[in-house]
């Protein structure tokens, strides 16, 4: 008898839990639907973990060059900053997030490549970055051939890590890690000689308060990365509007201002603003 009571109570609890989750699921679906259908909010995909480009601050605000560009573009599309909903899009999710319609556009250090162009359309480019090295202030690395007997660090599976292994320095020791911060601590302790990825990202890290003055960019242009704004394949109306917005951003000087603000203190010589559709191979 006692057992039956217990199991009845458990069953009730289970049913309650199930209904509760079902409700939760419905709510989520509803708010998503009205979000994209009503047009009063815009969802933009950015990175949350890249200082200088797309960074979520501890207080919940967002900063970085990608964020500034996306805010400007959204304004041209008719959305005020408070109507923007930022969504984190990690490298692996970017194509799917666009094709599912989770986000309207993505400005997340998104290099334009042929493989990606088959899945999404790109506006821009809005920034030409190069793979570079971040080294200690007193380092003697000045050219790519210096790298072969050095210890490098980059993020697991990233394009930069693959470039090192396949092209620039196949003989260099490469430590692949989960994130750039892990590489920075190794660089600080001397466990590696250089951290390598796009110079824009490196400049963002070097400009962070806790690292200011410790590191410098080596200034090697090891590759060309054309950052574009990704939109859903075939969404040419949005694409045209974004391209116009980017052109305006360059011509009215907001682009230069954003570059200076975000990459300033790290000996970073940025390339001039790229023309729309001009991809440097």
């Amino acid at each position: 008898m006692k057992l039956r009571k217990v199991s009845a109570a458990a069953a009730t609890a289970l049913v309650l839990a199930l209904t509760a989750t079902a409700c939760g699921g419905d709510d989520g679906g509803d708010s998503n639907g009205s979000g994209s259908g009503g047009g009063d909010k815009i969802k933009i995909g950015i990175k949350y973990d890249q200082p200088g480009l797309g960074l979520k601050e501890p207080d919940g605000s967002f900063s970085g060059f990608d964020v500034d560009v996306a805010t400007y573009v959204a304004k041209e599309l008719g959305y005020e900053p408070n109507q923007i909903e930022w969504v984190e899009t990690k490298s692996a999710d970017r194509e799917n997030a666009l094709s599912r319609g989770d986000v309207k556009m993505i400005a997340a250090t998104y290099s334009i490549t042929d493989e990606r162009k088959q899945k999404v359309d790109f506006a821009g480019p809005y920034l030409l970055a190069h793979q570079d090295l971040l080294v200690k202030k007193d380092s003697d690395i000045t050219k790519a051939t210096d790298l072969n007997d050095k210890k490098l660090c980059s993020v697991t599976g990233s394009t930069s890590a693959q470039n090192v292994k396949n092209d620039f320095a196949p003989k260099a020791q490469l430590s692949e890690r989960g994130g750039y911060s892990e590489c920075l601590s190794a660089l600080q302790s001397g466990a590696v000689d250089a951290l390598t990825t796009d110079d824009s990202i490196l400049a963002g890290y070097a400009a962070q308060d806790q690292y200011k003055g410790q590191f410098k960019l080596a200034g090697l242009k090891l590759s060309n990365e054309n950052y574009g704004i990704g939109v859903k394949k075939g969404d040419s109306a949005t694409l045209d509007k974004i391209n116009k917005a980017l052109e305006k951003m360059v011509s009215d000087g907001s682009w230069d201002k954003a570059v200076k603000e975000n990459f300033g203190p790290a000996n970073y010589k940025n390339e001039p603003a790229p023309k729309i559709g001009q991809i440097v191979q």
Binding site: E115, E176, R177, G178
Partner: protein, 225 residues
């Protein structure tokens, strides 16, 4: 559709899975030895060893594997300068660090599996062995462990399959195994689902035969009581 798979040669698809197999084999051997020692400690008559074994198992199995593996790289290698005998060869160094982390973690589970096997051996046998004058290590080696191992092949197969899949965590410190190649492909190809399926299939190919073989072995070797 699958032609991109052959574009990779450092590591190649087979090379990456070969590293996964190597990680699994070395970690399995290491954790079997260390896990058996831990189990012996947990049933030993010395309170200090029992305490150490219990503390080790309860601490290590409750730490996420990612934390342990990342600690071998950021803690042991970067801060304490542990080089695992390969200071100038990052590939070897991080491979060995990953094996070290996997052994430390998996041994806790192996220990508990073996201890449960030890509990299946009737106490009377250990008492009889003591009565004819065998020492503690002789009782364990000659009477208890041979029977214990035969009864825990099934649970150990579970641990081995979990270990095979856990080796993917080694990608976080840059060991060029299957998960790392998967990350590279996802970065380049924009074909997340297809790539995920390929690697999931690869792991099934590794673990399914292991599971079937060990299942058959455990039936064959089970102690009939």
């Amino acid at each position: 559709m699958f032609d991109f798979l052959s574009d990779y040669d450092d590591p190649s698809l087979l090379g990456a899975f070969w590293v996964t197999v190597q990680l699994t084999v070395f970690s399995a051997i290491g954790s079997l030895i260390w896990g058996t020692l831990l189990a012996a400690m947990r049933v030993s008559p010395v309170p200090l060893m029992r305490g150490f074994g219990t503390a080790y198992v309860n601490i290590v199995r409750n730490i996420p594997l990612t934390v342990i593996i990342v600690f071998t790289s950021l803690g042991l290698a970067d801060i304490f300068g542990v080089t695992m005998g390969a200071p100038d060869d990052f590939k070897l160094k991080y491979f060995r660090l990953a094996v070290l982390g996997l052994v430390a973690y998996t041994a806790a589970f192996v220990c508990e599996a073996i201890r449960s096997g030890i509990n299946t051996v009737p106490v009377g046998q250990a008492e009889a062995a003591r009565a004819i004058g065998l020492s503690f290590s002789q009782v364990l080696r000659l009477v208890v462990l041979p029977q214990a191992f035969r009864s825990v092949i099934g649970p150990l197969a579970n641990v081995l399959i979990a270990l095979t899949k856990n080796t993917t965590v080694a990608a976080t410190i840059g060991v060029a195994e299957a998960a790392l190649l998967m990350k590279e492909m996802i970065e380049n190809e924009a074909q997340t689902l297809l790539i995920g399926a390929v690697f999931a299939f690869g792991f099934v190919v590794l673990t399914l035969p292991t599971g079937l073989f060990l299942g058959w072995l455990s039936k064959r070797l089970a102690v009939k009581r």
